[in-house]
Each structure stands twice: as structure tokens, then as C-alpha cells.
Amino acid sequence: MVQVDHSLKRLAAGFTAAALLSACSLLAPHTPSSQPPTPQTSSPQPPGSPAPLPSLPPAPAPQVPPPARENHLSAATRSLVTQARTQVAHGDLPAASSTLDRALRIEPNNPLLWIELGRLRLAESDAHQAEGCGRKALALASGDRIAQAQAGRLLADALRGQGRNQEARQVESQPFMNSSP
């Protein structure tokens, strides 16, 4: 009986996590539909630099939005995120956590991976850790409106999970929260 309860709980956690994870579609390409898809470059990026560094404008005027950046998952980290989601769907959250750790070792500065990890932490009911992931993702998402919005939503959820509703609303009122993927 105890065994059954335990596995039911795990299953439920798995479903919750799957639902949460599917809410943010990291696996979908971030290319807006109005533009042609960006060609996948064949030359891989070295570990530690997930995206090319942005060009700084000659003289940034206050009203001009910051230069656009887009974060993508590489083929390797994409496959690991897929694997982690499968593990979550099977209720194996510890394995999913290890798989995402592995992805983060390949691309430690990719905010999308931190968002994924933060969602997993929420599924594990660890809102405090999710908050850390959200803040880290937000810092790394600088210049990428879409990633910022996803990181912001994660952070707001993590803050609500700790009963910090006012801070959550503050995050949600940030201008980048209006971008949608």
C-alpha cells in the first residue's frame, strides 16, 4: 500500500511537471513566423559561449531597445532537454535533474537551460531553488526579450510558490514581460 501511494505521488508529480514544462516551449524554434527560419550554422560553438556576443550600438540612446539576441539550444542540449522531459513524464525527477545538469555543463550560459531547470525545481516543490534558477536565467537572458519573458514568468511563479506575491507582481510588471514567444 505504501508502495502504491509512493508511486502514485511520483506519477502525479510527473504529470504536474510535464504540464509545467510544456507551458514554456523551449524546444520550439524561437524564430518569429513572419521571418524565414535562420539557417543552422554547421560550425558548432565552443562550450561556454552559447550565443554570439551582441554588437554594441555606437551610442545607445535611452529610448532605443537593447540589441536583439536570441538564445537557442544546440543539437546536443536540445536532445538532453527532450530526454529530461521524457524522464519527467515518467515521474523520474532525479534523473531529469541529472540530465539537465549535463546539458548545463555543455552550455552553462544558456538561459533556456536554466529556465528548464527552474521549472523542474518547481515540479519538485522547491520554489527557493527555482527562484535562483529564474534569477540566473534572467541575468543570462539580457538582450533576449523572449528568454527574458520566460525567465520572468519562472521567477514570478517561484516567488508565488514562496508566498512572495508582491515581488512576483513586480517581476510581471517589467516591460520585457510583454514579449511572447
Binding site: P44, Q45, P46, P47, G48, S49, L53, P54, S55, L56, P58, A59, P60, P62, P66, S74, A75, A76, T77, R78, S79, L80, Q87, D92, P94, A95, A96, S98, T99, D101, R102, L104, R105, I106, P108, N109, L117, R121, D126, Q129, G132, C133, R135, K136, A139, L140, S142, G143
Partner: protein, 765 residues
């Protein structure tokens, strides 16, 4: 007369009878006692299987910085052999940069991988791509994790314990054939064997055979000292009989195979065939060939006399005798014995995989993060974050440089010591630990336990505290002028610069890069000691330092591990990642143990940390750390800080790239002066480690509302790259008003890459 005689006789008989009875009782009590000892201790030891400890497996994917040669080296380290991969798991074939690999079945922390053939294409400096056997693309593939040790998490002994299933049949039967032919028939003691041994000894006129059964040998190893007395022999015999009464032949044989002494590796005794196989051949027992098994069996007779590393000829002869005995017992055929006898011994080169300093940290983190009751379970698997390549690089770099520095030193009665820790700042994973120059030996682990003043390593905390107030930026002018302070104990303190010069007004970026003491003390006092102490604590220092002005120059004492924790937060954009050597622990059924998990926490304002880190890149480009660039690939951007304690007792360097953080300490154990600054002692060691682990440049994502500006390194005035010879790029809050250099139109650099290029040009000229 006769009566008294009878009386006396009767008396004597009673005495003898009582004495005999007492003896029988004593013998019985003694036997019961030994029985207890045998059952209790043997039971305890039989089931105390140590945890197997694995290194982090190497992930291969397009772009992974692994060359073909490095891949092959890694495969060899994992005991893959060259051959036809179709033949079975554990074999690879290489053509230039193309590898076909038959990977073994591996239990990873998050999945069980079945054997699989994969193709790997390695280019000049990185992996180009991977494919499944059916030709489809494989995005990511990891090699087996390297087994680096076996620890009892509670008491910490190194052993590879075999379970009955791990014992190859040839070893099981061979040991019996050579050491105890009647093992399956006797009950612990073999009278026939003793007679045979006696007869052989008599004929030879000296002791050539022992006549001990395997059970007796096991009892001797487990419970008894090495002395050769009748009493001990009797004890051994009784215990052997009791052991056989309680345990199966199989349990006793497996225990014997795990216990028997096979050799000595410095201070480490090699017990058991599992560890012996690893130590002599660097292969799991299951992969040994006939000759290798024969050599190990042969060593039982005299581990030091037949030591194959010291006495190759004796070892060879002994191996061939065993091969003959195996053939005589029909365990192998005569032709195979003959072939094997012609083979070389096949020993692996000595040194390498034993990492006691790292395992030390693993044990401490196990205790920190897991419940002690969980750790007591048998058959745990510990997955660590050790990177064997970084570990080897760090060990080599430290020993090489310390020998060089010793040779150049006038000190003749002591050797320099050192410590290195390498970590991944993004995750807090500790990837290498070197606790001293005797890398393979247990002993004082300086990386974890040497608590020393950190000198100028503290300065980044002072500058970060200043940046966080919002009142300072990299171009803010500081006053490097003499200062005398009255301390709380009534004494006065007049710090000086290391060079004993006074630099006057200097921009903050230069004061940090050139590690100016006077400017830093003035800055720290302006910011306030409590704020500096708070910054150190939020960066990860566990105990808040005493609020003494000398804190600003690093009289605070820290271990290298503590320095790593603090600098990890600087290297990780202000996020504190708790250091860890253990990723996960699985129990015997492959289920993860519950652990205390802490990942990332916001510790310092990311924008302030970014500004500080950009200043720390000037330390290595322009300042006290500029000696590093000669040892790094051209164009590599690194951030770091030198540290030197008073009288040059401690030489430190702490620094990071995009991938790794390393902290190096060099000094004498007895705290005498080294005559070495951080730049002269620790820095070259650090740069060599960083160069050999192939780090990506330090290029953090710029936070919003921070921009790059050019300033004169000497005068702090805003300028352009071409206008001033000493122009350096610094990061400041967007729109910060900076006084301009007359005649130089200020315009921010076009792109970070352009800026770095011209900045490097300007540092070279």
C-alpha cells in the same frame, strides 16, 4: 606406608582430573569465544562493501573540445582496447579522426545504457559529429565514467570488493588449484595437506610448503597477527573450523579473494584481486587474460618477493609455474599455457588514477549532504564531478613548478608545498583537487585544510562592495597615498604598497589591476569594514571576518577551498553555487539517495559583479597577473587576482575563464618566507593548469544598462582606442559621465570583439 602411597596416587589422580576438566572447560570457553569473534567480525566485514566512486563521464557532441588523440587516450584510460568493435563491448577501431566504438553497458546516474556501437568523427581541435551504427545522427554521447576509487564513506579505506558474481571462474578455480587443492573437501583445516607439506619439507630439508588452507590464510589475515607460534597456529585452526561451520565455502572463498594481500603502492596496501587487477593491469578483473590471472594468483605466495614491478624475472617465472599448474589441473589447455608463458607481463605504467586528495573531499561532501544511516548501506555508487584530465593537468603542473621553484630557491632544508583546486564556477562542481606535491599519497590535504592569510585575494571583495554602493565605477579616481590608522588596541597601522612606492591619484581599475594597498585601504575605509565583511559572507565565506582594517589587505585566513567558494560567486555573475564533489549517490538497486540540494542563489548584484570581473581581466592583461598570457593560447581572456601574504609567506593566484575557476596556493608548511609573490609562485602554475584544460575565454553576457567605455589606464580619462597608448576598455553603468581626455573624441568601441582585439593590440605595444 602402602596406604599413604595409594592415598597420594588418588590425590594426584583427582588433581589431574580436575586440571583436565578445567582445561576442557577452558578450551570450550575459548572455542565459544573464538566462535563469537569469527561470526561477528566476519559477518560484519563480509557485507561491508565499499561505495564505488566514479569520475564525471566525458560528454562528446559536435563542438566538444576533444581531439582524436585525446579521445583515444581517454578510451585507453577506460580500458577500451584497439580491435574489431564487432567482436564485443570494450573495443574501438581508429582511422585518423574516425572512431568506431563498441561502448560497454554502463549504469549512469540518470540512465542505464546498453552496449552500443557508435561512430565518432574528431577534427583538428574538436568533435565534428557522432552517428549511431545505422548511420543516423547522434547529438550527444558520453563515455563510461572512470572508476577512481572505493571508499567506505564512514571510515574511508580503498578497496574494490568483488561480489560472488564478479569472480571469473578461472580465478575461482585457479586459486583453489594453486593454493588449496582440497578446499572443497576439508572443514577449514586439512590434516592431509599438513602431512603432505611436512613430508615435502622433510624431503627438502627446509620449509617449502605451508599446508595452510585458504580458510586458515583468511583467518590469519582477518583476525591474527603475523607471529609464528604454536598458540597462534592452534587459534587459527579453531577459528578456521568455526568459520567453516558458519559460512558457505563460496562466502569464504570470495572473502579470501577480497582480503588477500597482493602488493604495496607506497603507503597503500593492495588487498584483494579486484584492486590488484586495477593496480597492476588497470583493467577490471573480468577483462584479464589467462597470463594476467596467473600472475595475480602467483603473487599470493610472496607479494614483495615476486613484485612484478621490482623483480620482473621472478614474477615471470612464478607466473609460468602457475600457468603450468593451471594446465595440470586442466583449467586451461597446455597450448594456451604455453602461449601465455611467452607473453610479456603486461603491467600498466605506474601512477595515475589514484586521487586521495579528491576522495577526501568526496568523503566530506558525502557526510555533509547525506544521512549517515543511508551511507552505511552496502554497494553504493557515488558519482562525482571529478574531471580526470583536469586532475592530471593540475597534478603535473604543481609538481613541475614546485621542483623548478625549489631548484631556484636558496632554501635547502625544506621543500615548497602547494595546493590546487579546479572548479566549474557555473555549477559549483569541483573537478580537481591537489593537496600537495606528493600527489598519489594520503596525508595533509592542503587544498582543504591549510588555512592561510589570503593577502590581496581579498581586494575584489573590497572593490565589489564599493561598486555595489553605486558611488564608484572603474574610472573613479582613488588616492594611493600614505595612511596611518589607530587600531582598537591602541596601536597604529601604516600599510605600504608592495613596491614601497606611492602612486597618487589612480583610476579604480588600475588600483585593482596593480594591487595597490594604500588606494585599497582608503577605498575600503570609505565603503566601511562591515560592508566589506558582508560582501565576503554573501560571496560564500562561512564565518564573518573580524572587523579589523588589516582585513582590507587580506589578513583574513582561508583554505584554498574557501577561496574557491568565494571566487566561484565572482566567476558566476554574482550567483553563489555551492561547491560539490558529489553529484549523486545510488543505492544497490540504482535508486538515488536523498540529498541536501542547493544549487544557485543570488548573492551579489550581477551588474556590479560584471563591472568587477571586467576589471579583473585587466589584472591579467595589464597588472600583476600579466605573466599569465605567455602561458595561455593567444587571445585568451582570463580574470583573476594575485595574492601575497606578509613576508611572502603565501603565494596565491585565484582566477577564472569561461569554463573553469582555479585557485593555487604555494608556500612552506612551516610558514617561513618564500620570497615569492603571487605572480612569481602561484601564477605560472595556475596558467599552465588553465592552458591544459582548454578553457574558453571569459566572456560573460553583459547585463542591461551596462556599457563599455575606453579610459586611460593611467589617468582614468575617457578616450578612444587610438588616441591613448594606454587605453583600456572598462564596463560602467550606461550613461555614466566620465571626464574626457582633451583632444580625444570619446566613442564607445564598436563591438566587444573589436574592442578586445584592439585592447590586446594596445597591451602588446
Amino acid at each position: 606406608m602402602a596406604r599413604s602411597k595409594t592415598h597420594r596416587l588418588r590425590k594426584l589422580l583427582v588433581v589431574v582430573g580436575v586440571a583436565l576438566a578445567a582445561l576442557v572447560v577452558l578450551a570450550a570457553v575459548w572455542t565459544v569465544y573464538l566462535d563469537r569473534v569469527v561470526t561477528r567480525d566476519f559477518q560484519g566485514r563480509l557485507w561491508s562493501v565499499p561505495a564505488r566512486v566514479y569520475a564525471e563521464p566525458l560528454d562528446l557532441y559536435a563542438g566538444a573540445r576533444v581531439t582524436a588523440d585525446e579521445l583515444e587516450e581517454e578510451l585507453r584510460r577506460l580500458h577500451y582496447r584497439s580491435g574489431d568493435p564487432a567482436a564485443g563491448a570494450g573495443v574501438y577501431r581508429r582511422h585518423g579522426g574516425d572512431f568506431d566504438l563498441h561502448a560497454r553497458r554502463v549504469r549512469f546516474v540518470d540512465e542505464l545504457r546498453e552496449p552500443e556501437i557508435v561512430s565518432i568523427h574528431a577534427g583538428g581541435d574538436s568533435i565534428i559529429g557522432l552517428r549511431h551504427a545505422d548511420g543516423t545522427e547522434l547529438p550527444v554521447f558520453r563515455l563510461d565514467p572512470l572508476l577512481v576509487g572505493n571508499v567506505f564513506p564512514v571510515h574511508g579505506e580503498d578497496r574494490i570488493v568483488l561480489s560472488p558474481d564478479d569472480v571469473p571462474p578461472l580465478l575461482r578455480l585457479g586459486v583453489k588449484a594453486v593454493e588449496d587443492r582440497r578446499f572443497d573437501e576439508h572443514h577449514g583445516v586439512d590434516p592431509y595437506g599438513i602431512l603432505r607439506a611436512l613430508w615435502a619439507d622433510l624431503r627438502a630439508g627446509r620449509v617449502i610448503q605451508g599446508g595452510s588452507t585458504l580458510t586458515q590464510q583468511l583467518v590469519k589475515n582477518y583476525f591474527l597477527s603475523d607471529e609464528q607460534t604454536i598458540g597462534r597456529k592452534a587459534t587459527e585452526a579453531v577459528m578456521a573450523l568455526r568459520l567453516e561451520a558458519h559460512f558457505s565455502k563460496n562466502d569464504i572463498l570470495v572473502a579470501y579473494l577480497n582480503e588477500v594481500y597482493l602488493g604495496q603502492d607506497g603507503p597503500r596496501a593492495i588487498h584483494g584481486f579486484g584492486l590488484g587487477s586495477e593496480y597492476f593491469f588497470a583493467k577490471p578483473l573480468a577483462e584479464l587474460d589467462v597470463g594476467e590471472v596467473a600472475l595475480l594468483i602467483g603473487l599470493v605466495k610472496g607479494p614483495s618477493y615476486y613484485d612484478p614491478r621490482k623483480h620482473a624475472d621472478r614474477a615471470r617465472a612464478r607466473r609460468n609455474v602457475v600457468l603450468q599448474e593451471l594446465a595440470d589441473a586442466r583449467l586451461i589447455d597446455a597450448a594456451a599455457a604455453k602461449r601465455a608463458a611467452a607473453e610479456p607481463l603486461g603491467l600498466r605504467p605506474p601512477g595515475g588514477s589514484y586521487v586521495p586528495a579528491y576522495l577526501d573531499l568526496v568523503r566530506r561532501h558525502l557526510k555533509r549532504d547525506y544521512a549517515e544511516a543511508d551511507l552505511a548501506a552496502a554497494g553504493l555508487t557515488v558519482y562525482t564531478t571529478l574531471n580526470p584530465r583536469a586532475q592530471a593537468a593540475a597534478e603535473q603542473s604543481l609538481t613541475r613548478h614546485l621542483s623548478r621553484l625549489d631548484a631556484a630557491s636558496r632554501v635547502r632544508d625544506a621543500h615548497l608545498e602547494g595546493a590546487i583546486i579546479v572548479a566549474d564556477p557555473n555549477s559549483g562542481d569541483v573537478v580537481a583537487v591537489v593537496g600537495g606535491r606528493a600527489v598519489g599519497a594520503e596525508g595533509f590535504n592542503r587544498a582543504l585544510d591549510a588555512r592561510r592569510p589570503i593577502g590581496s585575494l581579498v581586494k575584489p571583495a573590497v572593490y565589489l562592495a564599493a561598486l555595489e554602493t553605486g558611488r564608484y565605477n572603474a574610472a573613479t579616481m582613488l588616492d594611493d597615498a600614505p595612511i596611518t590608522l589607530k587600531l582598537s588596541d591602541g596601536s597604529t597601522w601604516s600599510p605600504q604598497n608592495y613596491t614601497h612606492e606611492i602612486y597618487g591619484r589612480v583610476p579604480m581599475a588600475r588600483a585593482l589591476a596593480e594591487s595597490m594597498n594604500l588606494a585599497t585601504v582608503r577605498l575600503g575605509l570609505d565603503v566601511g569594514l562591515p560592508r566589506v565583511a558582508d560582501t565576503l559572507v554573501s560571496l560564500g565565506l562561512e564565518t564573518r571576518p573580524t572587523l579589523n582594517p588589516s582585513l582590507l589587505l587580506g589578513t583574513v585566513e582561508m583554505t584554498p577551498l574557501e577561496v574557491v567558494q568565494v571566487y566561484t560567486t565572482l566567476a558566476n555573475g554574482g550567483f553563489r553555487a555551492r561547491l560539490r564533489a558529489v553529484q549523486a549517490v545510488l543505492d544497490e538497486q540504482g535508486r538515488p539517495l536523498k540529498s541536501f540540494k542547493v544549487q544557485v542563489e543570488a548573492a551579489a548584484a550581477p551588474a556590479a559583479v560584471y563591472q568587477l570581473d571586467r576589471m579583473l581581466t585587466l589584472v591579467t592583461a595589464r597588472g600583476t597577473g600579466r605573466g599569465a598570457s605567455a602561458r595561455l593560447p593567444p587571445g585568451t581572456i582570463v580574470a583573476g587576482k594575485t595574492g601575497t601574504s606578509s613576508d611572502t609567506r603565501d603565494s596565491w593566484f585565484a582566477g577564472f575563464t569561461g569554463t573553469y575557476l582555479a585557485v593555487v596556493w604555494v608556500g612552506y608548511d612551516d610558514n617561513r618566507s618564500t620570497g615569492l609573490t603571487g605572480a612569481a609562485g602561484a601564477l605560472p602554475v595556475w596558467a599552465d593548469v588553465i592552458a591544459s584544460v582548454k578553457s574558453a575565454s571569459y566572456q560573460p553576457v553583459p547585463p542591461e544598462l551596462i556599457e563599455d567605455r575606453w579610459i586611460g589606464f593611467g589617468d582614468g580619462l575617457e578616450t578612444t582606442a587610438g588616441c591613448s597608448a594606454d587605453a583600456v576598455a572598462v564596463a560602467v553603468p550606461t550613461g555614466t559621465p566620465l571626464p574626457g581626455k582633451p583632444g580625444c573624441a570619446s566613442s564607445p568601441p564598436n563591438s566587444l570583439t573589436d574592442k578586445i582585439k584592439s585592447w590586446f593590440k594596445s597591451t602588446i605595444h
